[in-house]
Symmetry: C2
Subunit: 407 residues, 2 copies
DNA sequence: AAGACTTTTTCCAAGCCTCGTAAAAAATGG
DNA sequence: CCATTTTTTACGAGGCTTGGAAAAAGTCTT
């Protein structure tokens, strides 16, 4: 058997149509001419493809504003047709579910957040809750939405490699919960279930400053998680869907982690780890440490509280060594940081960089760019939405050329 | 700008020709019909492509032996034409250079190994040495070789991301040595310079048991290195070309490593680390520890020598924790082990598995398959040769359709 | 040993994309 | 109001794959 699949006319059409859609994702409004320039396609091909996509209702002609007295025939603006589809990004975390509804052009239509004690929910209850959330989003969007075409559920915890359910989550008591199939049955939309941290890089899929860039997203808060963007692909493991950065061992036989092992990065750098270290206990708090408590600890550290200062220092070192290990294995990568850790970045950054310097070969990566993103929810919604839209784009590009209708 | 390149007829042809070549790499001899089945191409297309490649001299018709009284017209055997090209795999290590010459079908034509003190060689001397090695290989092959088309140099140490030279090597005193350009000038063949450990997965590129499989190659010996095969691609970093597994930190502030940092895996698991631990010293031996010395230490450990036993135990734990960290980040992967570590595998394997169990989430991967490859040189030659041939295949598949010659 | 049957190859018309060029369309400028 | 510039559409051509028919080259049966 050959690993390489054959290529034929259909593959070519799909690929080039996708290239056109991908370009429009980046620039949002373009013309046939500039599509041709950006994709490398001839103007004829660009025009033909645009025409086909327009007939399908995937694209629409829009008014360009930049009529800045340029000579010649003005290009007709092309843009993704918002009405072509509707996607939902749902987020499932400890004690809360939330979601965002967006149209095919990526414009948000509605957003919602509910504090719910889902710990004891089983599969059926969870699916009902998520379906209900989608309903609430649609009614909040009034008439501006259409039936859902794609739903992406980002969950705290381990998801299965088929993107179909949850293996384990700190938010839930039950394990191995199937989500995709039953939720699809209820909503009529394709459903993918992913780990919240591992999808995060998708948020930057069409952002010009990240084009073609390898980078990592790092979440430091309730837990510690990472998303990896390598050679243009968001890394998804085979076994689970997560880069379990928080559970990379930091110190053999070290502090007890929630996962049962000793010495994980999370056992030093997550909220509960910082909290217990500052409070001088070895126990893992049963309750969730609130972001405000971390703020307060950071304030204390700034004010000279030795225990709090040490807690943040050890957290930073653990993160730094973890990053150093990743950099040694993969490559030094720019880091997008989010979570409660952002609030204490003044405490963390110097020690993180020290940790990298001490653990990476030649200290390479100690000066890597660190980009802060305060709003974790927005980041996850952006990411899950981008993931959903990319999946739709792929489907649309593959679909058969519309039947010739007019005589 | 769009990240997606356009696709046209030329791309299609190149892709499908490559699919045919790729299939022939796996099965070595095939027919037009079975090429069609394996690639998914129609019989017509398979036949047309084969005809074109035959005219180019890239393929040749061969006699099939398995004339096992099957009915119907027998298929004409198709195989890669050995004479179509000639590649050299060179290996540069501490105190020795070696190489293998192969034809386009991958059949070895000559092999050579020279113990040379290259420590003080500069770029010019090194290039001369390598060029001379190629000359010796060709004369050893008698008339069966043709001018070289591609040369791959596998070096112990860090190579640059352009695959053009050596950043640093334990075998050399000089740094930043440019190899590709001057060697190409001398030989007239394309040259790529890669890290020996990171190319190793290429050795399994066309092996059926590894088809589509993600796995890692692990070298434990003079140093500790790793090669990663992930989603069908051999991982090559951007910055260097290596997965610096040996320098992933094991214990913060731990044993001194050759790289200057403290606590690297290599500082526990490489030959010099095992040797110094068994001898009760902290110093890094200036000389290279010979494989026989490791054998002797393993024998001593088996006979009950406590210091030797501890040395191997700590080495195994370091490797196990290192693997656990990799598995946590990427995925549990089957491991192909090579180097002097193979000789002491009875001492190492149990502790390696214990290390994985203690450091990976849920101990996942502690039972990962461990495949032993005693002959490191052969593995590197296989890998570098496969890499070279794959590069040629890509070039051949892209080259213009041969000019129609016959009337 | 000749004809029937099977399987592999080759040959040829057709289809689908893309490409390049020419013509048409839609604005600006003098 | 006409020349100029720029974008879009229209049309013929080329390349590669496809599917079916015909040819080729064996084995099996009578």
């Amino acid at each position: 058997m050959s690993r390489l699949a054959k290529t034929d006319a259909e593959t070519v059409r799909a690929h080039n149509r996708l290239a056109v859609l991908d370009h429009l994702r980046r620039v949002s409004v373009s013309t046939r001419k500039s599509v041709s320039e950006a994709t490398g396609l001839s103007v004829s091909a660009s025009s033909a493809i645009s025409a086909s996509l327009l007939r399908c209702g995937i694209l629409e002609e829009v008014e360009e504003d930049d009529r800045s007295n340029r000579r010649g025939r003005p290009g007709k603006g092309l843009g993704l047709s918002g009405g072509a589809a509707c996607v939902a990004a749902l987020k499932l975390a400890v004690g809360e579910v939330s979601g965002r509804l967006s149209d095919y052009a990526g414009r948000p239509l509605a957003e919602i957040r509910r504090e719910v004690d889902i710990a004891s929910h089983d599969g059926a209850a969870l699916v009902m809750l998520l379906a209900d959330l989608c309903g609430a989003l649609r009614s909040q969007a009034q008439g501006r939405s259409r039936p859902l075409d794609k739903v992406v559920v980002a969950v705290q915890g381990k998801t299965d490699s088929g993107l179909s359910g949850i293996v384990w989550s700190p938010a839930l008591r039950h394990r191995d919960i199937e989500i995709a199939a039953p939720l699809t049955a209820r909503l009529g939309a394709e459903v993918s279930v992913l780990n919240d941290c591992s999808v995060m890089p998708e948020a930057f899929r069409w952002q010009p400053d990240f084009a073609g860039l390898d980078f990592a997203t790092l979440f430091v808060g309730f837990g510690v998680g990472m998303g990896l963007q390598i050679s243009g692909e968001t890394f998804q493991g085979k076994r689970s869907s997560a880069v379990e950065f928080g559970h990379i061992n930091h110190v053999p036989g070290g502090a007890l982690c929630r996962c049962g092992n000793r010495g994980c990065v999370e056992a030093y750098a997550s909220d509960y780890a910082i909290w217990r270290r500052a409070k001088g206990t070895d126990e893992i708090a049963a309750r969730r440490i609130r972001d405000e408590e971390i703020h307060a600890l950071a304030e204390a550290a700034r004010a000279g509280d030795a225990a709090a200062a040490t807690a943040f220092e050890e957290a930073g070192i653990a993160i730094g060594y973890g990053l150093g290990r990743v950099f040694t294995m993969i490559d030094p990568l720019p880091i997008v940081l989010t979570g409660s850790g952002v609030q204490a970045i003044d405490r963390l950054e110097p020690v993180i960089r020290r940790g990298i310097a001490e653990s990476a070969v030649d200290g390479l990566g100690a000066d890597t760019p660190l980009i802060l993103e305060e709003d974790t929810d927005a980041l996850v919604f952006d990411a899950a939405t981008a993931y959903a839209l990319a999946a739709l784009d792929k489907g649309f590009s593959r679909s058969a050329p519309e039947a010739t209708e007019a005589a």
